[in-house]
């Protein structure tokens, strides 16, 4: 039996659909990441799961019990969960009292409360500041207090909404570290919303892609990133190259996709001839060379560089091969090869590096 299950969950605000028929099942001990762009409905879904608001229709089961049953039931269930909302909110009292609140509300005895709060303070590395007013903390520290405040109650389910949004990379890394240690130490079931797919990949063992109020795909992180099931998901998991075409031949699992202009992309797929498809190629799977080379890669196109943009240690290179292709190479390679606007290059990628997606 899943710990949390939603059945045809819908939510509307002012007659506008926010969530449409959400069906998710989350097992005990699972770390589930809800990924999706801003405004997709991730926060609303977390609020519904935490029973902070009622769905327009559909049901939520917590540990097998229908949460829409009564207010009393929802209150009891909410006490078995903890929700860290996106904006780190701390109460205008000391750090210690902030963390102690949840335990006080549950009537935990003072001696055990003291011990629990102290050990959590140590975990987040803020023991020395326990008497300081929490309002004086930085964003990253406040978020650590917010997470500590949630886990001190030893929830069965921890809900995290964009835990590292608006934080600098260093603070974000500390938060991720904290989440990882919670996963290892407590084995808490976690549902986290994030728009950062790589974060989902790092922390979660299952991912749900929420776009426009609907769950478009769930699966293990690798699967979602390498084999998106629809164009929207592919776009979101930053497959920059989504090229539409039609399958013109299929032989022993290798298909040829005609992408127009007498150009063919070879790929691994089981779709039949005549099927309209998208050929998805991740930009990091494309190799650039100055001259045509012989290799095992099935796809090679000549084109002219139209744009070079630096992305950290990488260069994002746009090439016009009669169709638009984006490649990601290290800055050093780009410099050594002299890749700049106007240069002619060969873009090469393997048939296994192409994910074929049926046009819906």
């Amino acid at each position: 039996m899943p710990l949390i299950e939603t059945v045809d969950l819908c939510q509307k605000y002012d007659r506008r659909d926010i969530l449409k028929n959400i069906n998710i099942r989350i097992d005990k001990g699972e770390v589930f990441a809800l990924i999706g762009p801003t405004g997709a409905g991730k926060t609303t879904l977390l609020r519904l799961v935490d029973l902070l608001e009622m769905p327009a229709s559909g049901k939520i089961y917590f540990d097998g019990r229908d949460a829409t049953e009564s207010k009393r039931v929802r209150f009891e269930m909410r006490r078995r969960m903890a929700f860290v909302i996106q904006k780190p909110i701390v109460f205008n009292i000391s750090i210690y009292d902030n963390i102690a609140y949840g335990l006080k509300w549950r009537g935990v005895k003072k001696s055990s409360l003291c011990q629990k709060v102290s050990s959590i303070l140590e975990m987040i590395g803020l023991s020395a500041y326990q008497d300081r007013n929490a309002r004086t903390l930085s964003g990253g520290e406040a978020q650590r207090v917010a997470i500590a405040r949630a886990i001190v109650t030893e929830p069965e389910v921890l809900l995290l909404d964009e835990p590292t949004a608006n934080l600098d990379p260093l603070s974000a890394a500390k938060i991720e570290e904290l989440i990882t240690s919670i996963i290892h130490q407590y084995g808490t079931t976690i549902i986290m919303a994030t728009h950062d797919m790589s974060q989902g990949q790092r922390l979660a063992n299952r991912i749900g892609v929420l776009i426009n109020g609907g769950i478009l795909q769930t699966g293990d992180p690798r699967e979602v990133f390498t084999s998106p099931k629809s164009r929207e998901v592919a776009e979101f998991v930053s497959v920059d190259n989504i090229i539409d075409g039609i399958i013109v031949s299929s032989e022993e699992g290798i298909v040829a996709v005609d992408i127009g202009g007498n150009k063919i992309i070879e790929a691994i797929s089981s779709y039949p001839v005549g099927e309209k498809v998208y050929a998805c190629v991740r930009p990091e799977n494309i190799t650039l060379t100055l001259s045509k080379t012989t290799s095992s890669a099935r796809n090679s196109f000549i084109g002219q560089i139209t744009q070079v943009v630096s992305v950290g240690p990488l260069s994002r290179i746009e090439i016009n091969c009669g169709f638009r292709l984006v490649a990601l190479v290290t800055k050093r390679s780009a410099e050594e090869l002299g890749l700049e606007k106007g240069r002619q290059v060969y873009a090469t990628f393997k048939a296994t590096g192409v994910h074929v997606l049926r046009e819906n």
Binding site: D50, R79, M81, F91, N92, Y101, G102, W105, A146
Partner: protein
């Protein structure tokens, strides 16, 4: 001019020697206004939280209406309470007119709008995410309201102090429904107005000084609070 100086010196003498007349008036004034403020707060704080936490039709209008009554003239409240408690009035049977009790009721009515309105705005000043944060950490409805109240504590205390300031400094109402009866309903403001018209300015000045001192203390506390 010499009269005023004499009056001032005499007034300080009255205060320093703890003149029984001055002390009894001060004590009565404080008792009546503190009681009125506390009773009004006990009613208005929960009422204000009800207004803030519930969504209903006409909420905005209600708040506007409450704010309009911030500056209601004290004599209008006096007239209303007088009519209510006069012999022929609906509550005349209680025989409360010209007693400290009716003065307390009058002051409560006078300051209720300030307390209500400022409580609502104190709650509105609290981050919208605070109630949800509390509930998500397992707070019951009652515990959630307590958290919000605690977050708004400085603004709420400021509201209570302002209300007290208005209660203790008004004269129209105290005169109309209290009647300025010596040793029974005579308070700072009514005594000052009466003694001044009688020409006994020493007592007036002494009471005036104490009243200003109270105002000063309220102001200092308010400033402290607003700096937090």
């Amino acid at each position: 001019m010499p009269e005023i100086w004499q009056g001032l010196i005499k007034a300080i003498e009255l205060i320093v020697t703890l003149d029984p007349e001055v002390m009894s008036i001060a004590g009565r004034s404080l008792t009546i206004s503190v009681t009125a403020t506390l009773l009004a707060a006990v009613i208005c704080l929960p009422l204000g939280s009800l207004i803030h936490f519930n969504r209903f039709i006409g909420k905005r209008t209600l708040i506007n209406l409450i704010q309009t009554f911030y500056s209601i003239p004290t004599v209008i409240v006096g007239l209303f309470v007088f009519l209510l408690f006069s012999r022929a009035g609906p509550l005349g049977g209680l025989n409360l007119l010209f007693t400290p009790a009716v003065m307390i009721i009058g002051q409560m009515i006078l300051i209720a709008p300030i307390l209500l309105g400022l409580t609502v705005s104190a709650f509105s000043g609290v981050d919208k995410a605070i109630p949800d944060t509390a509930r998500s950490l397992g707070a019951s409805d009652f515990q959630t309201v307590a958290v919000v109240l605690k977050e708004a504590r400085f603004a709420v205390i400021a509201a209570i102090l302002l209300a007290f300031g208005r209660a203790i400094s008004e004269v129209g109402l105290a005169l109309m429904v209290g009647g300025n009866i010596r040793g029974f309903t005579r308070v700072f403001t009514t005594a000052i107005s009466l003694e001044t018209s009688k020409g006994d300015i020493e007592l007036s000045i002494a009471l005036g000084i104490i009243l200003i001192l109270i105002a000063l203390i309220i102001n200092i506390v308010l400033n402290r609070l607003q700096q937090r």
